[in-house]
């Protein structure tokens, strides 16, 4: 155990302290809150770099620091921190992107009244996200997972006076919680089965060989235990990472401020699902050796990932809100990561996660820059012509787009996507995911071309766009840095020198292969991207939109398809009609049961009691009381009659006394009382 892992807790603790400062600072302490948040983040970044250095010194080792949270009768509930290359790379990425976005936020949120609160929530998010990354316990990971969800909830609903923002925040929390409940069940199952939730614990953790061997027995339904647990945990990832069928919350989450979208809903939190699956990868692959199971956990992951990748790209084609296009693009890219995990290349997934984090954060921040400059105009139909007004934003945004599209050779996105396509092509179970991914690449190129063309080229199509001006350095500097990263990051994992993959896999030396080995696939990819860009340019770039009301050229050609896609294929309506209605029906049922059945039973008993009471009262009044009353009346009458005898005449009394005496004595004498 090195010094680094012992002090790993400092990485999330610093932003947490900043969040506390932000929460407790007075309302006017804007600079204090922002300063604390940025300072803490910088500290975390430095610590993360140190941790990375510590991890790379021995990439094969899982350094852990475990401690008991509290005693539980039969053994303590233990938590811990873990340091390995995966953790370290994630830490550095999260801390770095967070730092840049914090800096960007100081410019973007300058006018907001709740500026201080914003940084408090952001710091809380960063703390939870970093905690999630460094956790060595599924429980600690779950705790941070939920806290990340809370921070996301608070930040989506940051402009809470907007009803749409409040509703989106609630939708996000509830939807992800559905997945989290699956996660929770998986976690409980694991705890019950293994007695520990630690990943690595010197041979006793559940990701280590001894424990995994226990998980291979079959359930009555035919699944292996590890498959079932793995799929339950995957439910959590589906919720958090916006995978089909729980992807509906992510586009709505764009109601939050743009830095939030960049940090949480593009770069970090949504990628946590991918990270989670990568973290428990030994568990996910534990059933690969079993031949006679109906389904492997990873197969499900692959298909869901591929479907989501295609779905997201499709829907993005028909969106008009700049942030929603990027949101669906995020959904799609997360699908690619899941696909990579599913087809067995978790290294490719993590590589894409890292590259995507940078270029998608760049794109969102660029979008934020545009929105900020254009006075919160988000509709690309109303923008246009910004390339001349906002040079820095335009250039960096273009670089990010090229990375996302996968323009060959120079851009990180190309290499990471290439790795995924390669892995999907090599998957032995099915080729369907590969075809979906290929189609997704074309679509991605297409809708991004559209985005660029509509936003930056031509002439401004609204007052807001016409008055746009480039933003200050607090906002442009992060863009430049991120753009540099989006390009340079390709260097860490070139096929000929896969440094990142080697480190992640715990290999000391880096063994690359010549670049032409995968040239066929790479060529295909280049052709696909060119096709997509060409199509996009043909439709949107050549004949630029004249004004914001002009019809979309694609919608003219296939109105039904575009309308369906613009409506996001009706998932929200579908859920409202099924899950929502089921939920409402259950609530009504419970309420009716309460009011009428259980409450009715009680009321019936009460009525029965009251009826009995009525009967007895009547009986009492008519018979018992009646008799008693008559007697009383008679007694009173007798008393009145008797009082008539009280004449007040002393003579009479004396006489009566004497007569009484006579009678008594006569009785005694004559009766012979002797």
């Amino acid at each position: 155990m090195t010094l680094a892992v012992q002090h790993l807790w400092l990485i999330p603790a610093l932003p947490l302290a900043a969040a506390a400062v932000g929460a407790l600072a007075p309302r006017s302490g804007r600079t204090l809150a922002a300063g604390a948040a940025i300072g803490a983040m910088a500290g975390s970044f430095i610590l993360a770099c140190l941790a990375l250095a510590g991890a790379l010194a021995d990439p094969a080792a899982h350094q852990v620091f475990n401690f008991a949270w509290f005693d539980l009768g039969f053994g303590a509930l233990r938590l811990g921190f873990l340091l390995d290359p995966l953790t370290a790379f994630m830490c550095v990425m999260v801390a770095f992107v967070s730092l840049l976005i914090f800096i960007f936020s100081t410019g973007y949120m300058k006018e907001d009244a709740n500026y201080k609160q914003f940084f408090c929530f952001l710091s809380l998010f960063a703390a939870a996200m970093l905690g999630l990354v460094v956790a060595n316990s599924l429980l600690l990971l779950f705790v941070c997972w939920e806290l990340v969800g809370l921070a996301s909830y608070l930040l989506i609903g940051f402009w809470f006076h907007k009803p749409s923002a409040a509703a989106a925040a609630k939708k996000a929390f509830i939807t992800t919680r559905i997945g989290d409940l699956g996660f929770l069940l998986g976690l409980l199952w694991l705890q019950d089965n293994q007695g520990t939730l630690l990943f690595y614990d010197g041979g006793a953790g559940f990701l280590e060989a001894a424990a995994l061997a226990n998980l291979s027995h079959l359930l009555p339904c035919g699944l292996a235990v590890s498959t079932a647990i793995g799929l339950l945990i995957f439910c959590g990832a589906v919720g958090k990472s916006g995978q089909f069928p729980l992807h509906v919350w992510l586009p709505d989450a764009m109601e939050g401020p743009t830095p939030v979208s960049a940090l949480i809903h593009a770069a970090t939190m949504v990628a946590a699902g991918v990270f989670l699956i990568a973290r428990v990868y030994p568990l996910m692959t534990a059933d690969q050796a079993l031949a006679n199971v109906p389904v492997h956990a990873l197969t499900v992951v692959a298909f869901i990932g591929a479907f989501t990748a295609l779905l997201g790209a499709l829907i993005a084609v028909a969106q008009n809100d700049i942030k929603r296009i990027l949101a669906f693009s995020t959904v799609s890219q997360l699908g690619y990561m899941m696909l990579a995990l599913g087809v067995g290349s978790w290294v490719a997934a993590i590589f894409h996660l890292l590259t995507h984090a940078f270029f998608k954060a760049l794109l969102f921040l660029g979008a934020g820059s545009v929105i900020h400059a254009a006075h919160h105009e988000q509709d690309i139909r109303a923008l246009g012509g910004l390339s001349k007004k906002m040079k820095v934003t335009y250039l960096t945004f273009a670089l990010g787009t090229m990375a996302l599209v996968g323009v060959p050779l120079l851009f990180s996105g190309f290499w990471s996507k290439e790795a995924i396509l390669h892995a999907a092509h090599g998957w032995r179970v099915s080729h369907l995911p590969f075809y979906a991914a290929v189609l997704g690449v074309v679509l991605t190129a297409f809708y991004n071309t559209r985005l660029m063309a509509e936003t930056f080229f031509g002439s401004p199509r609204s007052e807001n766009a016409a008055h746009a001006r480039e933003n200050g350095p607090a906002m442009t500097l992060p863009l430049v840095i991120l753009a540099a990263c989006a390009v340079l990051l390709s260097l860490v994992n070139l096929p000929s020198y896969p440094w990142l993959a080697a480190k992640l896999l715990g290999e000391q030396e880096v063994r690359g292969h010549p670049i032409f080995e995968g040239a066929g696939l790479m060529g295909l990819s280049v052709v696909l991207v060119a096709l997509g860009v060409g199509l996009g340019w043909a439709l949107y770039g050549r004949s630029l939109r004249a004004n914001s009301a002009a019809k979309d050229p694609l919608a003219v050609r296939a109105p039904g398809v575009i309308a369906a896609l613009a409506n996001r294929l009706g998932f929200d309506e579908l859920y409202a009609a099924t899950v929502g209605r089921l939920n409402a029906a259950l609530a009504t049922l419970a309420d009716v049961l309460d009011r009428f059945v259980w409450g009715g039973a009680v009321d019936f008993l009460a009525a029965l009691g009251q009826f009995t009471g009525l009967v007895t009262r009547e009986t009492d009044e008519r018979t018992l009381n009646g008799g008693f009353d008559t007697t009383s009346d008679k007694l009173r009458g007798a008393g009145q009659a008797y009082s008539q005898a009280q004449t007040g005449e002393a003579h009479g009394y004396l006489r009566t006394l004497a007569l009484g005496f006579v009678i008594l004595l006569l009785l005694v004498v004559l009766g012979g009382a002797r």
Binding site: R655, A658, L659, F661, V662, L665, L666, V668
Partner: protein
Amino acid sequence: MTLALLLIGFLLLAAAGAAMLSRNLIHSALLLTGAWAGIAGFYLWAGAEFVAFAQVLVYVGAVSMIVLFAVLLTRQGATTAPVEFDSFRRAAAGIITAGGVMGVLFGAILGTPMDVTSAPPPASITVRQIGAQLMGPHAAALLIVGVLLTVALLGAIVIAAVDKPDDPAP
């Protein structure tokens, strides 16, 4: 002895009866004083000299004086106005009732065999004996009677006192 008793009894009853019949209250009071004196005579006859002494002291001396004062204080109009029997019916009923009582009493007395005639006449009780009895076994009763008398004295004064606080005497 018996003769003496008869004589005393006759005088006593005669005085009492006359007192009850007299129409003049003053006469009634004086005749009653006589009857009380007769009773004292009876006590003497029976050998209870101390009782006879007390009878004379209390009744003949004290009560008769109070009665006389009461009579004088309640006289209306002429001092010698007779007190009439205002209701013949009541008088008759009273006398008949008394007669009834007398009848049953006589019946009881005469119908009861009492064979105590053989007992010797006891030595008369001495004052010393009475004193010892009073201060011994009956001390509590004596005390209570003392208190009673005091209270009666105060009570009599309070009841009979003139209460006209609002009307100062001229």
